[in-house]
């Protein structure tokens, strides 16, 4: 800028000096060495020839050093056919200049100028500057320290501009830039207005085509982008008022982990604001960002020393499916919400300050479904508020249905309040669980550095075992499941359920305690529990499982149960007839047969001897225990037998009695399961 003015001044200076020579036809001037302020010249030759309408000027120089940023030029040749002096101004309507420059190379430019030294008014146009494989036109007007500069750049290469950058960038900026590779073509026009050394107003229209860039690690990359924009700014008193637009309509970019496909989803930005204190304080009073078909946001932002100090943003309702795919999923890779089918709409508003923020999400008909079918939530409508500050935010949500693994949850609504990174329930939530209900109260959720943790108190009103067993794919059981749960808490990937769940099945009770789960949505969910089984009626149990018929009662326990991926991998279980309350104890031929089959023995053994004539047998006691660890079941019965153990010990009523004795103590668990399944699927022996 300054240099251009200086160049104009130099030319004028030369011309003024030539003025008294008009009476002569031609004049030649040669200078060996020449210095003027920051300019130095060598082997300067000047020829002026008087023509019909004006003077023909030819000037040559071997070398001229201009002040930075132009620097050294060689082999300079300047020609103006029609130099005139009219109305106090020197005018050259058309001229050419050729020179060689270290960075610009050999140049041949068209120029015109008008100079009035008395009024300090200069106008100069330079056309066809070859710059960075492209062309640049410059139009400068200067009058008593007020100037206007118009630039018109056509298809400049970014790579070609690189050698010029050190002249404009600090060493830190240059170091940062050195980590990037880039290329692209820049075209555009700009009008700059200023006074002396300060810029007062500017308008820039620019277009970057075929833009490729990448940082060293390949985490910020663009390929074949086409970006365009406009920047307007003007200084008013101490502040700059500015306005800018940016649009990207072609190419792709990846800012880890976000992928932007501008061709499919064009991006547009519109912002206006002010800048004060030499751009130390930037206020964006209106910010609008739109990614077509994905999201549209408006807001404002204040930056101090390039750091945000406040931000308000609110979005139009956006399609959750698009929003999830483009902006949420990339941040959740490897988590429980990484693969969702999402639908419905969500709108967000955020009020942020460095000290904290308030976020409100408005849902309309939102549905999310885990692709691994672990959970599902449908028909979510209402508002979720979250505040990390003292300012409370309300939550009022309702959903139509939900699913947690095999358990379906019904319609429910939640009213809560958030403050200081906590969410507290304002009223009890009544959540339908299968055909029963879970009443949740005292729900609390906290966001801590270690992650989210939450807890609630619950009361489970009875769920029928029919619906539960159907949901879990068990044989249909009859009875009820209920429970008082003093506290369910989740922290650090672990879900703890205090209290007990009680199952009323087979005329007895089964109590589940110390229930806890780790990484419930991880690769291998782990479930731990202790189960006590009291006073089951064997007759209804065997009937339910179509196992033959055994009468009597059964009690026992399953301790230290661990399910990995919902399959038992470890426990210490024992089931036996109680020592007290003998009652009537009989076992049918088919039950004996099935027990034999489970043990790997042949079926139908009893039908071969005279025992086939007895439908059932009296027994004294029965029981079986299994300690499962590492896929091996350590088995035991109710009493040691010679080389083995009794599973059924005959006795009690009238003979014939029958003993079932097991010999193998260590049994492969998968074999045992396969046999149980075979028994379940077989129709059983036919008793004739």
């Amino acid at each position: 800028m300054r240099s251009l003015m200086a160049r104009t001044a130099l030319l004028c200076c030369l011309l003024l000096w030539m003025a008294p020579l008009q009476a002569i036809d031609s004049i030649e001037l040669r200078l060996g060495q020449w210095t003027w302020t920051d300019y130095q010249g060598r082997e300067l030759a000047l020829q002026l020839t008087l023509g019909e309408t004006g003077i023909e000027l030819n000037a040559q120089a071997e070398h001229i050093t201009f002040p930075t940023p132009i620097g050294e030029t060689h082999d300079i040749y300047l020609h103006c056919t029609d130099l005139r002096f009219t109305e106090g101004s020197w005018v050259c309507p058309s001229g050419t200049v050729r020179f060689t420059h270290a960075d610009l190379g050999r140049q041949q430019l068209q120029f015109s100028f008008k100079a009035n030294t008395e009024k300090q008014h200069y106008e100069i146009q330079l056309g066809g500057v070859k710059l960075a494989e492209g062309k640049l036109n410059v139009d400068l007007s200067y009058q008593t320290s007020a100037w206007e500069l118009a630039l018109d750049a056509d298809d400049l290469s970014l790579q070609g501009l690189t050698p010029w950058l050190p002249r404009f960038l600090s060493s830190e900026q240059q170091e940062a830039l050195a980590l990037w590779s880039y290329d692209g073509r820049l075209s555009g026009s700009g009008q700059l207005t200023g006074k002396a050394e300060s810029l007062k107003k500017l308008t820039l229209n620019w277009q970057l085509n075929q833009l490729n860039f990448s940082n060293d690690s390949g985490t910020q990359v663009a390929e074949q982008l086409a970006l365009g924009g406009k920047l307007d700014g003007q200084q008013q008193q101490s502040a700059w008022l500015w306005q800018t637009t940016l649009h990207g309509e072609q190419g792709q970019a990846y800012f880890e982990p976000v992928f932007l496909d501008m061709s499919a989803f064009p991006l547009a930005l519109d912002a206006r604001g002010t800048a004060r204190d030499n751009f130390a304080e930037i206020e964006i009073t209106k910010l609008k960002v739109e990614q077509q078909s994905v999201i549209s946001m408006e807001g404002s932002l204040t930056l101090k020393d390039a750091k945000p100090v406040s931000m308000q943003l609110s979005s139009q309702p956006a399609a959750m499916a698009m929003l999830y795919e483009h902006w949420l999923q990339p941040f959740t890779l490897g988590t429980a919400v990484a693969k969702l089918d999402a639908q419905g709409q969500v709108a967000a508003s955020l009020d942020w300050k460095p000290s904290g923020y308030q976020l409100a999400l408005d849902f309309a008909g939102l549905g999310v479904k885990d692709e691994a079918e672990r959970y599902e939530l449908q028909g979510l409508t209402g508002k979720l508020g979250w505040s990390t500050t003292e300012v409370p935010m309300a939550t009022d949500l309702a959903w139509e249905k939900a699913q947690l693994y095999a358990i379906s949850l019904g319609e429910a609504s939640v009213k809560a309040r958030s403050q200081s990174s906590q969410l507290l329930l304002e009223q009890t939530v009544d959540l339908p669980v299968l055909d029963g209900r879970l009443q949740l109260s005292a729900f609390e959720l906290q966001q801590q550095k270690s992650g989210v943790n939450w807890s609630f108190e619950g009361l489970l009103t009875p769920i029928s075992m029919e619906s539960l067993s159907e949901a879990l794919g068990w044989p249909i059981l009859h009875g009820k499941l209920s429970g008082v749960i003093p506290k369910v808490s989740y922290a650090e990937q672990q879900l703890n359920i205090a209290g007990a769940l009680q199952m009323k099945v087979f005329d007895g009770t089964t109590v589940i305690r110390n229930l806890r789960m780790t990484s419930p949505f991880g690769s291998l969910p782990q479930l731990y529990a202790n189960i006590d089984i009291n006073d089951l009626d064997l007759a209804s149990l065997t009937q339910a499982f179509d196992f033959g018929r055994i009468s009597g009662r059964l009690e026992g326990y399953v301790r230290d149960l661990r399910l990995s991926n919902w399959k038992p991998v470890q426990f210490d279980a024992s089931l036996a007839t109680p020592k007290t309350n003998p009652g009537k104890r009989r076992i049918s031929q088919r039950a004996v047969d099935n027990l034999t089959q489970i043990g790997g023995g042949p079926s139908g053994m009893l039908q071969r001897g005279f025992l086939q004539f007895f439908e059932d047998f009296s027994y004294q006691k029965l029981g079986l225990s299994c300690r499962l660890q590492n896929e091996v079941c350590e088995m035991n019965g109710i009493e040691d037998a010679e080389q083995g153990y009794y599973i059924v010990k005959g006795g009690g009523g009238l003979p014939p009695w029958i003993n079932v004795v097991g010999y193998t103590r260590r049994v492969d668990w998968s074999d045992l399961i396969a046999r149980l399944i075979a028994v379940r699927d077989s129709s059983g022996p036919v008793i004739e």
Binding site: S564, Q570, G601
Partner: protein
Amino acid sequence: MSVFKWLTGTVSGLMLVSCVTINIYFPAAAAEKAADRIIEDVWGPETQPQPNAEPEQQNSSSLTTPQHGFALSVLNWLVPEVQAAEANINIDSPAINALKAQMKSRHDQLEAFYNSGAVGLTDDGLVTVRDTKAVALKDRNNLNGLVADENKDRKALYAEIARANGHPEWQDDIQNTFAKRWISNAAKGWWYQQGGSWKQK
């Protein structure tokens, strides 16, 4: 009386003092074998030097005849008796098999990235995105997702093997064993981390 009390007290005191800590050492060789078997299943046999032969299972089969009177022993568990409890690492459980199957099917997608060097094996038994320059921008998150899922499964696998074998505290040892075995079983051309730098097989 008090002498007796003193005596019992001292005896139990002595018993406490003489209480011996039994260390169960990590069965490194067995863990390596187990790791090799899993790696073979996940990566396929071509990258595996020598699969370990399964010990033949013995089927003991005997049926006792009715012994006396009406008492009768009919049942003999013909289920194979499990091999003696030597220092062993068991890796056959439904949970481990499920993880293995998942990792195997993911390997079909990851293999090309191992070959191209986009993904490398870390020295802590996981995988990481190494060089994405050859991966199209639109596919990068797909790759990141594969790597995140693979690492989640690998961590779960190491933890599950330790738990299933009754020693959750072995998890780190299992992970270290796997780290070595993944690398030594890796195919030619794959990249792995060693001492903080990348090397190619």
